[in-house]
Structures are given as C-alpha cells and as structure tokens.
C-alpha cells in the first residue's frame, strides 16, 4: 500500500501532491516525511553547515508538521509549508545560539573551506574540478557573509531552485523584497567572482 502511494506521489507534480494530500485526511504523514525529508535536510545543511544540527532540526520540523498536520489546509504546497517551519526552527536555533554566547557550546559547523570540497563525481577533467572547487569556495565565502535573511533567500533560489513567488510565500515577504535580497546577494557573488578574474 505504502509503495503504491509513493509511486503515485512520485508521478504527480509537487503542487498536485500537496493538494491531493491536503484533501485526503487519511493520507499517511509518513509518505510526506519520506518524500520531503531529504530536501528539508539539504536546505538546513546548506544554511547551518552543521550536519548534526541539520538532522536535529529536520526531525523537529517533521515532528512539528505532524502535530499540525490536521490544521494544514493545502493553501500552499506541502514543501512551502514544511520549509516555512524549517526556517522558523532555524531562526530559533540561531537565536538560542546567540543567547548561549556565554557558555561553550559544541559547534559542529563545517568550515566553508571544507564544504567546498564536496563536488559530484562527474566526468569533468581535474582542471575543471579544481576550477569548480575554487568557484564553490568563493560562493561559500559570500554566503557566509550574508545576513540570515539574504542567506535564506539565496539558498532557496540557488540550491532549492525555487521561484521568486514561492520564496516570497515561504518566507512571508513580498516578491519585491525577495528580489532585493537576492539582488544584494548576487552583487556580492559577482564582485567576488569578478574580482578574481
């Protein structure tokens, strides 16, 4: 039964799945969790650069979503809803980290330099790999210097490949504001990359 449902969900579009799941009260939340967990984890990992924190917040996000599953009306897509929860949890995480400045907390965040080592094992040449690694390192450097909101917008746009209106809906900002944040982030990326050539 679960396999059949997964196949059906995979064959449907994101929005269609959201509507279908939202309308079917008996839909199993486990299907939603299985489907969207990697994406939530990826977004949180890219935002926090801490795999353990990303895993913990992913679990918290799904737990919170499960508790509020009955109240989800399908006005937005499931992914938008889940990412909104994840973003709020991420905010709380940063806030609690700021509040705990007086005590030594274990920080497992991976350095931007190390994060740039991850590249898909493609068929590109060693030179291209080296160039790509260098570019990724520069982008990470820029991302590190962005404000929390700019970073969130940047990640949603360039890692999750979301549309501007989807980002606006997820973060709860106007499309104009999202564009402004994105533009500012891109100016910095352009300056860093342009300055290197």
């Amino acid at each position: 039964m679960a396999t059949t449902t997964t196949v059906v969900l995979e064959s449907m579009g994101k929005r269609a799945v959201a509507t279908a799941i939202a309308r079917d009260d008996s839909a199993d939340f486990a299907e939603v969790a299985t489907r969207y967990r990697p994406q939530i984890f990826r977004f949180l990992l890219a935002s926090l650069r801490d795999p353990d924190a990303a895993e913990t917040l992913t679990q918290d996000c799904l737990l919170k979503a499960h508790r509020n599953w009955a109240s989800f009306r399908g006005e937005s897509s499931v992914m938008t809803w889940l990412l909104r929860i994840a973003i709020n949890l991420q905010k709380d995480h940063w806030r609690s980290r700021r509040m705990q400045f007086w005590k030594l907390t274990s920080n497992n965040a991976v350095d931007a330099e190390d994060a740039s080592h991850w590249l898909p094992s493609g068929e590109s040449s060693p030179e291209q790999q080296a160039l790509a690694k260098d570019q990724v390192r520069v982008v990470w450097k820029v991302v590190k210097g962005l404000s929390e909101r700019q970073r969130t917008v940047f990640m949603l746009r360039h890692v999750e490949e979301m549309e501007i209106h989807e980002i606006a809906k997820t973060i709860g900002l106007s499309e104009g504001t999202v564009k402004a944040h994105l533009s500012r982030a891109m100016v910095r990326v352009r300056a860093e990359l342009g300055g290197r050539r």
Binding site: L45, D52, S96, L119, P120
Partner: protein, 142 residues
C-alpha cells in the same frame, strides 16, 4: 556585439557556472550526509533551553520573577516596619512602667519624710506639764 557586451556575457556565464557548481556541491554533500546513520544528540542543556523557549513557560517565569523581585522587598520592608513598631511600643510601655515606679517611689519617700519630721518635731512633755498635756488630749478626744 561589442567587447563590453561579450565581456558581460562571459561574466554571466561564469557566475551561472559557479552557482551551478555550488548547487551540485551542496546536493552532493547533502546526499552524502543524509545517507550517514546519525543519532540525534541532545544535551541536557538543549532540553533546558528548549523548555525555556516555550512562550507560556517564559511568560510564567518572567511574571514570577517580577512578582518575586517586587514582592520580596515589599514584604521585607513591611516586616521591618512591624518589628520597629512593636519595639517602639515595648519601649513606650517600659518607659511608662519606669515612670510609674518612680512616682510610687517618690510618693513613699514623702510619707517617710513626714513621719521623720513628725518624729523630730515631737517632744516629750515635761513632768510639770503632764496634767495639761493629758487635759489637751482629753479635750481633743472629745
């Protein structure tokens, strides 16, 4: 196409390529990390902060703090005033008792003085005046 336009296009391509590499890198890293078995570790402090993050509990604790910080000094001040009033009353009482005792002592000494004066002034009548003295005592008794 001018040189500047070409340059601009080239730059855009480079940025596009860099962003694609970044996306691929994050996806590869995420897939690698996601496939790892990981236990969710939470320290006791994490649980503590998580509980504190609850707004209802936060407001309750804040209210308790305000009530305590205002109530305790007010109570202590009130207690001190009560003790001071009690002490003042006791002192007043002691003073009154002392004054009464002094007055009583003064009253007793007056009686003693009168009897002393009386005994000093009083003299035995000479033998020759004894009948007159008895006569005076008889007339005073009548």
């Amino acid at each position: 196409m001018s040189f500047e336009e070409k340059n601009r296009l080239n730059e855009d391509e480079q940025i596009e390529l860099a962003l694609r590499s970044f996306r691929d890198s994050v996806h590869a890293w995420s897939e690698q990390e996601f496939s790892k078995a990981r236990t969710i570790r939470r320290s006791r402090w994490d649980a503590f902060w998580r509980v504190l993050a609850n707004p209802v509990l936060g407001w309750t604790l804040a209210s308790a703090l305000v009530v305590t910080s205002v109530g305790v000094p007010v109570t202590v001040h009130h207690q001190r005033e009560l003790v001071a009033a009690r002490n003042a009353q006791m002192l007043r009482q002691q003073l009154l008792e002392k004054q009464a005792a002094q007055q009583e002592a003064v009253a007793m000494s007056d009686d003693e003085l009168l009897s002393h004066v009386d005994s000093d002034v009083a003299q035995a009548a000479p033998d020759a005046m004894e009948p007159l003295a008895s006569l005076m005592s008889d007339s005073s008794s009548q």
